[in-house]
């Protein structure tokens, strides 16, 4: 399988481990990624003009004829929204008027469903089954919105499917599609932190050993900020938060530093060790 890869801006900073693990996991699964030529920021959630947002996404979409994969939910949602909006020929014409390469339709995929598709057909690649690992599937908001993407917007189940494929146990996680608050972290710190902590507390209550996420902003809120939140709310959480690509990478038996695990704020190493111990026990 050959796909164009759109890393998104966070891949260069706070979301480095997402980018690193995406590349290595795809390589292991035989998915050839070709980084999108001279890509630009998708606008994230901070461009108030809808048309500009569409234009920024369209410039990226117009760079290739291959299906475009991204592992960031925000990018995924933005690229999809743009493609949907440009179904209106008037909008498309307006946007194309300012583009150098013209947009004429695109197929947009999230790493999650690309990986699941390959794994379902090749489960022999799972060399380190994540037996008995209790995983809280955390979708966040944008993966399934707007409607019509890889799964239902209200009660998606694709992450659970992937977790099961890896032989781990997906928890019934009540807040799985609740927004992490990330986009308003700057102006409304208190509100955003309340939300993020609620999610962490709920994951703890559900008995999660790991939280898995598909979005770098969710990751930032739940992982990078976890320690600060623990201090602010006076409650220990201590749950590692993995990108879905990192979780898959572990199951594929990839090396922890290849997956950028050391970059996570809450160290996932105890989890990795547990998985390997379990495997040794069974053998």
């Amino acid at each position: 399988m050959k796909l164009a890869y759109y890393p998104g801006c966070v891949s260069r900073s706070t979301g480095k481990e997402m980018d690193v693990s995406t590349r290595i996991v795809c390589a292991a699964l035989g998915i050839a990624l070709q980084e999108l030529e001279d890509w630009n920021c998708c606008g994230a959630t901070h461009v108030p003009s809808e048309l500009v947002s569409v234009g920024l996404a369209a410039r990226n979409l117009a760079q290739t004829d291959l299906p475009i994969m991204t592992s960031c939910s925000i990018c995924y949602s933005n690229l999809r929204s743009a493609a949907l909006t440009m179904e209106d020929p008037q909008v498309r014409a307006k946007v194309n008027a300012v583009l150098t390469k013209k947009y004429s339709g695109a197929q947009i995929r999230h790493a999650l469903d690309v990986i699941l598709e390959v794994l379902e057909k090749n489960d022999e690649l799972i060399t380190v089954p994540l037996k008995d690992l209790k995983v809280a599937p955390y979708y966040g908001c944008l993966l399934t919105r707007p409607r019509g993407g890889i799964d239902q917007p209200e009660f998606p189940t694709i992450l659970e499917k992937l977790i099961k494929t890896l032989a781990a146990e997906p928890l019934d996680f009540r807040l799985k599609t609740f927004c992490c608050g990330g986009p308003i972290f700057m102006p409304q710190e208190q509100a955003a932190e309340d939300i993020a902590f609620l999610i962490l507390k709920e994951a703890k209550k559900a008995g999660a050993e790991v939280i898995v996420t598909v979005c770098p902003l969710c990751h930032l809120m739940l992982d990078a900020k976890q320690k600060a939140l623990e201090q602010r709310y006076g409650e220990k959480i201590g749950i590692p938060v993995l990108y879905v690509t990192q979780l898959v990478g572990i199951a594929l038996g990839l090396n922890p530093d290849e997956l950028g695990l050391e970059m996570n704020a809450v160290s996932p190493m105890p989890v990795v060790e547990k998985v390997y111990e379990k495997m040794a026990e069974e053998a």
Binding site: R147, Q152, E154, F155, R174
Partner: protein, 797 residues
């Protein structure tokens, strides 16, 4: 072929504007005209007698009356000439009053010229008239009713009581439909099965009703008066004649338990079952999907009624009319994932609530939390689940759910006064006799009303919480309840599509069956001889479903009681040698009247004469008996024989709306210019592109086509077809160098005389700007000429 022309004065209505004397002498000179007269009032007895006298004296075999609109007096003159021994169809009228003298009152000279053209056109058409016979065909007096819900039951009983034989075909093992499953029913809160049960038995015992349950219609052919229907009865694996309906003997030994669909999944039933104690027929039925074949029931049945070897049985019926009463199905609440139905046990639907409240239901009338089995102390009812919701593709209101919830809330409150019942609603729709009073009663009983559409139901531990904005206070709240009841909407039965295709019924955007006219023909389908009753044509409550069942029965009785059907000789017919079997006609026919049985064949009983097929046929293999191609072309040629004014417009007006609008412009004395020469056709879809091209070739400056407003066609979608053809035609004009604006299509209702006049005036202005026909050809010639010179120059050195 001697022809008589009669120019009417209509007192001064015509003669006050037009020079009738001149018209008469003009007519006399037209080919084939043996006699022409002007008559003060042609429709009076004296006028009619004059015509009849002339027929005898001059041996006339066809008549043209230039007078008022044919929509007014065509029947009068047809009767008059028939009395004199002529075939009534040997008449043509020229409309020189509504569409001439009344609308051109201040331009008598131009109007007289236009009237001459109209008379010339009528004479040209009259020359081609053929005698037509009104045929009558024998019809079956039996009626098929599909669906045994309350609507189908009402129809069947009325028909049978009137002496027509009814075949009532029901898909499920019992008739009764949804009403049989409801608890008490609004607005009177009487027990549903107590009022319906006797009707169900009456159906069963009626000598003129053949009840066919657990059956499916497989095919329907033929048309009004003679439908041939095939279907099959599924195997019940129980002999209907032997079974005593005791149920205890067989079901008690059956080891298999499955969720009971008649309780909407909250109760259980065995693999051998009777849907409910009042089922009709009261006969057991084996569910082949659940049965494990242990045959314990076979042994247990004292009547030896269980027969595992039973096979499906085919049946064939011949009926004159069909009533479709296939009802509705509940919206699938799992589709609203945010409410957790199917995941949270304490979230149920209103139908499950109905079953719980039912004294003979699975909980024996107790309203419990399914998760604990305890009586619910606090109940939330959520309105508009799956209705008024674009996210699930249902923008319509299901109409009965507000009332049903008010009812259920009352029943709960009456049984458990301590229980807290809250209805979450967007608007309470209680429109019907006694309905608002019913709402007031609910309020007085202490039921809470919160104006909110619930955003989400959350479950934390064992409890469910509703999250919503109380829109009257603006507060966003999170409230705990024991039980949440989703007021699910009504959708058309999922298999309705299959049946609809068999019958050729059309469906509205909301997917329910479309009726022939949203106001005027509430129970008729677009297909003759087919009627629709109850929720098959949209959500409605029981009283209206019954009223529609009875109305459909009355329509069927009116249609069939004589045992024969008179056919208007308006139909299409196929020239078998020309037909290429392309089936385009089959697609365009709105009445499903054509089938291609090498070659195409028109069912004349079903055809309503719109003529769309004749316009569409690429081989010109289809023609119409009335309004034939030759007649219309003759009118076009006569209209353009003398181009007496600029711009000259040939206008095709559909009989139902736009011709009516033009007449109304006349009766309202709306004045407009004289440029149009109107040709009446049954439907705008009748206009064959070749008519338009012929008009332009012969010197018309423009062609106007006017139809009913979009969506209001009398044949369903003829005007859309016309629109499509006009669009293609515009392309053709452009290719041959003519301005595509020379063909114009407009829409007006019969009440829109003003709009007809306005559109015509606009068109005249547009044509004036374009110049006489051919101006653009001259121009392009000049331009092309220029171009040639330039290239020559450029290529020179």
């Amino acid at each position: 072929m001697p022809l008589g022309v009669y120019v009417c004065h209509c007192g001064l209505n015509i003669a006050g504007v037009l020079n009738v004397e001149e018209l008469k002498s003009f007519a006399l000179k037209l080919p084939g005209v043996a006699v022409a007269r002007d008559l003060p009032f042609s429709c009076s007895d004296i006028g009619q007698e004059q015509i009849q006298k002339d027929i005898a004296e001059y041996k006339l075999d066809r008549i043209v009356v230039a007078a008022c609109s044919p929509r007014l007096h065509e029947p009068t003159f047809r009767r008059a000439i028939a009395k004199a021994g002529l075939n009534p169809y040997m008449l043509e009228m020229a409309n020189i009053r509504e569409q001439c003298s009344w609308v051109h009152m201040d331009q008598p000279a131009m109007a007289t010229q236009k009237a001459k053209d109209l008379i010339r056109m009528a004479v040209a058409k009259a020359a081609l008239l053929q005698p037509l016979e009104q045929e009558s065909i024998p019809v079956s007096k039996d009626v098929l009713v599909i669906g045994g819900g309350v609507a189908g039951i009402a129809a069947a009983l009325d028909l049978a009581d009137a002496g027509l034989h009814v075949f009532l075909v029901e898909r499920r093992p019992t008739i009764g439909g949804h009403m049989a499953l409801l608890t008490d029913v609004f607005p009177t809160n009487d027990c549903s099965i107590c009022v319906l049960g006797p009707k169900m038995s009456e159906v069963f015992n009626h000598p003129d009703i053949t009840l066919i349950t657990y059956a499916e219609i497989l095919n329907i052919e033929g048309s009004v008066g003679n439908f041939q229907v095939t279907g099959h009865r599924r195997a019940r694996f129980v002999d209907e004649k032997l079974c005593k309906g005791c149920i205890n003997e067989c079901a008690s030994v059956c080891p298999v338990e499955v969720p009971n669909e008649y309780d909407f999944g909250i109760g259980k039933r065995k693999a051998i079952y009777i849907p409910y104690p009042q089922a009709v027929p009261l006969v057991a039925c084996v569910d082949p999907k659940a049965c494990i074949g242990c045959a314990r029931c076979v042994e247990a049945c004292p009547a030896e009624a269980v027969k595992f070897e039973q096979q499906p049985q085919e049946f064939k019926l011949n009926v004159g009319a069909i009533i479709v009463a296939t009802g509705w199905q509940p919206f699938d609440a799992t589709r609203k994932e945010e409410y957790g139905f199917g995941r949270y046990r304490d979230v149920i639907t209103t139908l499950q609530m109905e079953r719980m409240l039912n004294a003979s239901g699975p909980t024996k009338g107790d309203v419990v939390r399914p998760s604990t089995g305890e009586i619910a102390k606090s109940i939330a009812i959520l309105q508009c689940v799956g209705s008024r919701d674009a996210t699930v593709g249902n923008i319509y209101c299901s109409r009965i759910c507000c009332m049903a919830s008010l009812k259920n809330a009352q029943l709960v409150k009456e049984k458990y006064p301590e229980t807290d019942v809250t209805i979450y609603y967007i608007d309470i729709r209680a429109c019907g006799e006694g309905y608002e009073e019913f709402y007031v009663r609910a309020q007085k009983l202490g039921i809470n009303f919160v104006r909110a559409r619930v955003s989400r139901i959350d479950r934390v531990d064992k409890d469910i919480y509703l999250i919503f904005e109380d829109t009257q206070t603006g507060e966003v709240k999170r409230v705990k309840h024991d039980l949440a009841v989703l007021s699910v909407g009504l959708e058309p039965d999922q298999n309705a599509e299959v049946l609809g295709n068999l019958l050729g019924l059309s469906r509205r955007p909301d997917r329910f069956f479309e009726i022939a006219h949203p106001k005027m023909r509430p129970v008729e389908a677009h297909i003759d001889g087919v009627f629709i009753a109850g929720c098959a044509s949209g959500p409605k409550e029981i009283p209206i479903s019954i009223a529609q069942g009875s109305a459909a029965a009355a329509k069927a009785i009116k249609l069939l009681h004589k045992g024969e059907l008179e056919l208007e000789p308006t139909s299409a017919y196929v020239d078998q040698d020309l037909c290429a079997e392309c089936k385009i006609c089959v697609e365009v026919c709105p009445k499903k009247a054509i089938s291609v049985k090498s070659p195409a064949y028109v069912d004349e009983a079903a055809c309503k004469g719109c003529g769309s097929c004749a316009a569409a046929c690429p081989k010109d293999a289809i023609n119409m008996r009335l309004f034939s191609d030759e007649q219309i072309l003759a009118q076009v040629r006569a209209a353009t024989e003398e181009t007496s004014e600029f711009p000259l417009i040939v206008a095709f007006l559909c009989n139902w709306c736009s011709y009516g609008a033009a007449d109304l412009a006349g009766t309202s004395r709306i004045q407009y210019p004289t440029n149009a020469r109107n040709i009446r056709v049954m439907c705008s879809a009748r206009v064959d592109p070749s008519f338009v091209l012929e008009a332009l070739r012969r010197g018309a400056d423009g062609v106007l086509i006017a139809g009913c407003r979009l969506g209001e066609c009398h044949y369903r979608n003829g005007n859309y077809q016309a629109l499509q053809r006009v669009n293609v035609l515009k392309g053709v004009l452009e290719k041959i160098g003519l301005d595509p604006g020379r063909v114009k299509i407009v829409w007006c209702a019969a009440s829109e005389g003003e709009i007809f006049a306005r559109d015509l005036k606009e068109f005249i202005a547009e044509l004036k700007a374009m110049g006489p026909i051919g101006t653009e050809l001259e121009k392009t010639k000049v331009e092309a000429g220029d171009g040639k010179e330039k290239t020559a120059e450029g290529a020179g050195p």
